[in-house]
């Protein structure tokens, strides 16, 4: 286990900013404080079979909308979850740079972007755009520390990652309550 907060991809430093490393408890508070969070879920969400998909669905059941990027929509469909917003991660990031965008559910632009299961290059580039051209904070709940997000899980292995996600699911409050 590598519980440290240096960019997993050593060169993904960006420059003058660095994400705050967060554990599940802090991550859940960030999510609970957001009014309109969205969770962007990529095609790698299937990499550990159902394990990750099921945890993301539990977050979704607490009222966080899902932006399903690439073919990840297929994994939700299989689980009978149909109310996901299908969009490319690049398109989503572009929409997020538009303050007038009505958001994934029409309720207005998100005020927190949570990312999981997206190709490492694309995840980093998404954070770079958000950091430079928007005021929307970002949170990475991938197993790799992403320095260009505002907040990120540290580098952890698969087993710990699943435990982190369990804790997160447990601590994230149901929306509207």
């Amino acid at each position: 286990m590598k519980m440290f907060a240096t960019p997993w991809v050593r060169t993904q430093t960006g420059g003058t900013t660095k994400a705050v490393p967060v554990m599940p408890d802090a991550a859940s508070r960030i999510i609970n404080n957001a009014k309109r969070p969205v969770i962007a879920v990529g095609a790698a969400i299937n990499d550990l079979g159902d394990e990750l998909v099921e945890r993301v669905i539990k977050l979704h059941e607490k009222g966080i909308p899902i932006a399903a990027t690439a073919h990840s929509v297929k994994f939700f469909e299989r689980k009978g979850v149909r109310d996901v917003y299908e969009v490319g991660i690049i398109e989503l990031t572009n929409l997020l740079t538009d303050p007038e965008w009505s958001g994934v559910d029409g309720s207005g632009p998100p005020d927190l972007v949570i990312v999981i299961g997206i190709n490492l290059d694309l995840t980093n580039q998404t954070f770079q755009t958000l950091k430079n051209f928007t005021d929307i904070p970002s949170l990475s709940i991938s197993r790799y520390f992403m320095a260009n997000a505002n907040y990120s899980f540290p580098n952890i292995d698969d087993e710990i990652w699943l435990l982190y996600l369990d804790e997160l699911v447990w601590k994230v409050k149901e929306r509207g309550q």
Partner: protein
């Protein structure tokens, strides 16, 4: 065309004068081209700025910085994060655009310098007046040249005119990159597009020069298959390996070997585009594969002599070659590697010095001498080198794996995040399968080797574990055919423009794949089966050849090589990308009867609105690929990149949800109408193969599709969406303009969806983005011209 003309006078006698062998050169003479000169012959840096801005109004540049800072000058480093400006006043978007313009200029210069050498070399061999003859079925010999330069090149010498223009323009572009120049990101983007367009031009010039100079195939679709893969190499023979993109030294090696009847006694093989071009000259040469094979193949020890030319050559190859005692010959002024210039020395002396190990290599700038030295040297070192290799055997892998401390630094350096240390754990206990499994996704970059503090070389261990895979590395690739015939364009022009051939899908570019090369072959086959036209070039063309179906056939064996529905066309090396664009340019000319001459904007407008072509550059990494792609964008052709392409830091994205962005002129009436959002983007990054497939099906749609054509395109789009995403697409209401567009068998289902979305019918316009191309205006202008002519 207008050109320099020479008159030779053998003997002139008059009462006043008596002279012989006089040569008089005239400046410019206009010739018989019936096309009137268009508005932008030899466009300057800002001549097409309005067109670029019109494109960018719809396809806004989207930036994703790789670095938050700028370190161009010593005011810096400057922090540009989140709205900050540098000491020169530049902001982050403009800085990203400057980097894009810089990369495009580098790419164009790389192709340009190569093409300049090619033109000079062919002129030296054939003479300046050697005629450009692209064969009976090609009258439009240089569609890009005609459109940009506004002239028809007739001889090798004429091509120099195009090179002069491109080189002069590049200087202006590069100068604008200096501190304290552009302050508007769209102006830098326009310069990037200009550099991209120049890149497209010089590629066409370079390839025409080599096609006519070397008598390469001129668009014949029945070109033969050539062998592909390291497994095809006969190790019992001396092997000469060429790497790079300039085929001249390779051809001279062939010529020398043939002249001295040694062709059967040596193996000539190549990596990257020089190999592509070599098989256009002689199919008996072999292609090892794309750039990812460079280090692996040299470490395998199979190459007895290594000949390097230019572009995408790893710069550590001399070091790698020394370890396996392979002498290196560098052959261009672009790559010296610190080696002594031996161009003026005798061939036998050079062979002695390199064979004895006195010097690890030599620079030889005369291609003919390279030919002689390479062949003699390969024969000389073959028995003593004994195919010395640095790839470990299984025992060595085991002991190396035992030294691994699982720090995972190799994985953290790996561009594709391969789980190397986990595989090494298995190897330590004698199971080599996990290591071998990494090979398919490994791009051969050797960053893992550099990262390992223990001195372990994971790349070599992966290679050593994969010996059985390498033995099976025996495939084929269809020889690059070069241009698309005018006759083919005549046949497929109408069904492409109306949408009945659902699209032309191009797979081009490098081998920096995020998830292995197999995906490129899978994408190609998906669209071949659906009878799209699939065109390939460069590394992608090699990658596609390296997969077989259940019956053991490669795609080249399964699909014919014509430019027609359901066919797989390999045009050849990087330079031949110009012929893919050339085919798109010929459609408005041959089918649409548009003039090419100096008429860039009208031709691009036609392509953007009518020609359903899309290029996929799945493993992109190079500035050249960016230049090619940015050029294609200016011509109106969308490009899809793989995930690593996001690090180019700029895309051009449309917003289908913003209706006003899709206003367009209906050329028939002059009215501004709201068209469907097609093509939706100009450069897009797909996260997965599945997303790329869906995006291809979307991006081949054009506002000009007739209802039958749109029905066909939508039927494929829906089917692919169901197959790869498991759902019905949620955006059909954007692409259905009238009820007739709905695929027949899905009418009730789709009509219900449209109703829910509040869908409204749209006109199908005669689309143009350019107001002066509205028919009425055009007619009026023509009338005015006629009146003026009559005066």
């Amino acid at each position: 065309m207008s050109k320099h003309e020479k008159i030779k006078i053998k003997k002139l006698t008059s009462p006043l004068l008596n002279m012989g062998d006089v040569e008089i050169e005239f400046g410019k003479i206009e010739d018989d081209w019936e096309e009137p000169q268009g508005p932008t012959p030899k466009p300057g840096v800002v001549a097409l700025r309005n067109w670029d801005r019109r494109l960018m109004e719809r396809y806004e540049p989207f930036y994703t910085p790789v670095c938050d800072m700028c370190c161009l000058c010593s005011y810096g480093k400057c922090d540009l994060t989140h709205g900050k400006r540098g000491a020169c006043g530049i902001d982050s978007k403009t800085q990203q655009a400057r980097m894009i313009a810089l990369e495009c200029a580098i790419g164009a210069a790389a192709h340009g310098a190569h093409s300049r050498h090619m033109v000079e070399y062919q002129i030296e061999k054939k003479g300046r007046d050697y005629r450009i003859d692209m064969g009976l079925n090609i009258a439009t010999e240089a569609p890009i040249y005609r459109t940009i330069i506004g002239e028809r090149p007739k001889t090798l010498g004429d091509l120099e005119d195009g090179m002069d223009y491109a080189e002069q323009q590049l200087q202006h572009i590069v100068s604008s990159l200096h501190t304290g120049m552009e302050g508007d990101f769209k102006d830098y983007e326009s310069k990037a597009m200009h550099a991209g367009m120049l890149d497209n031009l010089v590629m066409e010039i370079g390839d025409i020069a080599q096609v006519i100079g070397y008598d390469f195939p001129k668009g014949e679709s029945d070109v033969p298959l050539s062998e592909l893969g390291a497994g095809t190499i006969d190790k019992e023979k001396p092997v000469i390996l060429i790497i790079g993109h300039n085929v001249v030294p390779g051809v001279e090696i062939l010529t020398y070997a043939e002249a001295y009847e040694k062709a059967d006694r040596i193996e000539l093989a190549g990596i990257c585009c020089s190999a592509h071009d070599l098989i256009r000259k002689n199919k008996s040469a072999k292609i090892i594969g794309p750039m990812s094979e460079q280090v692996r193949f040299i470490r395998s020890g199979m190459a007895d002599v290594l000949v390097l030319d230019e572009q995408c050559v790893r710069v550590d190859l001399l070091e790698e070659a020394k370890k396996v005692k392979t002498p290196v010959i560098v052959t261009t002024d672009k790559i010296g590697l610190g080696l002594r210039d031996r161009t003026g020395d005798g061939a036998d002396q050079i062979v002695d010095d390199l064979a004895s190990g006195k010097e690890p290599g030599a620079m030889i700038l005369r291609p003919e001498k390279v030919g002689e030295v390479a062949v003699k040297l390969a024969e000389r070192v073959f028995p003593t080198r004994n195919k010395l290799r640095t790839i470990p055997d299984k025992d060595e892998i085991k002991s190396e794996a035992a030294r691994c401390v699982s720090c995972e630094e190799c994985q953290r350096a790996c561009p594709v995040n391969l789980h190397i240390s986990a595989a090494l754990k298995d190897a330590k206990s004698g199971n080599f399968d996990s290591l071998a499994e990494l090979r398919e996704r490994c791009i051969g970059c050797a960053r893992c080797d550099s990262a390992c503090k223990k001195g372990i070389k994971p790349l070599s261990l992966i290679e050593g574990a994969s010996d059985y895979i390498i033995k099976e590395d025996r495939y084929n690739v269809r020889v690059g055919r070069g241009p698309i015939l005018d006759t083919e364009i005549r046949n497929v022009g109408p069904p492409i423009v109306f949408g009945e051939i659902p699209g032309v899908v191009v797979f081009a570019g490098c081998s920096n794949y995020s998830n292995g090369g197999r995906e490129v072959a899978e994408m190609a086959e998906e669209f071949l089966k659906r009878r799209y036209i699939v065109v390939v070039s460069g590394c992608a063309a090699m990658t596609i050849g390296k997969y077989r179906d259940e019956d053991g056939q490669t795609l080249y064996e399964k699909y014919p090589g014509n430019f027609d529905a359901g066919c797989l066309v390999n045009v050849g090396s990087c330079l031949t990308n110009a012929h893919i664009l050339g085919a798109a340019v010929k459609i408005p000319h041959i089918f649409g009867r548009r003039n090419l001459r100096g008429n860039f904007e009208e031709i691009s407008d036609y392509i953007l609105n009518r020609v359903g072509a899309v290029a996929v550059v799945w493993g992109t990494y190079s500035p050249k690929a960016l230049a090619i792609g940015t050029g294609l964008n200016r011509w109106g052709i969308p490009v899809i990149l793989g995930p690593s392409g996001s690090k180019y830091r700029r895309l051009y994205l449309g917003r289908k949800d913003k209706e006003e962005k899709w206003d367009i002129y209906n050329a028939r009436t002059g009215e501004v109408v709201n068209a469907d959002p097609t093509p939706e983007h100009l450069v897009y990054v797909a996260e997965s193969k599945e997303e790329a497939i869906i995006e291809i099906a979307r991006l081949v749609m054009r506002p000009n599709d007739n209802v039958k054509g749109r029905q066909i395109k939508l039927a494929h789009y829906i089917d692919l969406h169901k197959r790869y995403y498991g759902t019905m697409p949620g955006d059909l209401h954007y692409y259905i303009r009238q009820e007739g567009d709905i695929p027949m068998t899905m009418k009730p289902e789709i009509k219900a969806i449209l109703e829910k979305k509040g869908w409204k019918e749209r006109v199908i316009p005669d689309p143009t983005l350019v107001e002066r191309l509205v028919w009425k205006k055009k007619d009026k202008e023509d009338e005015k011209d006629k009146k003026e002519e009559g005066r």
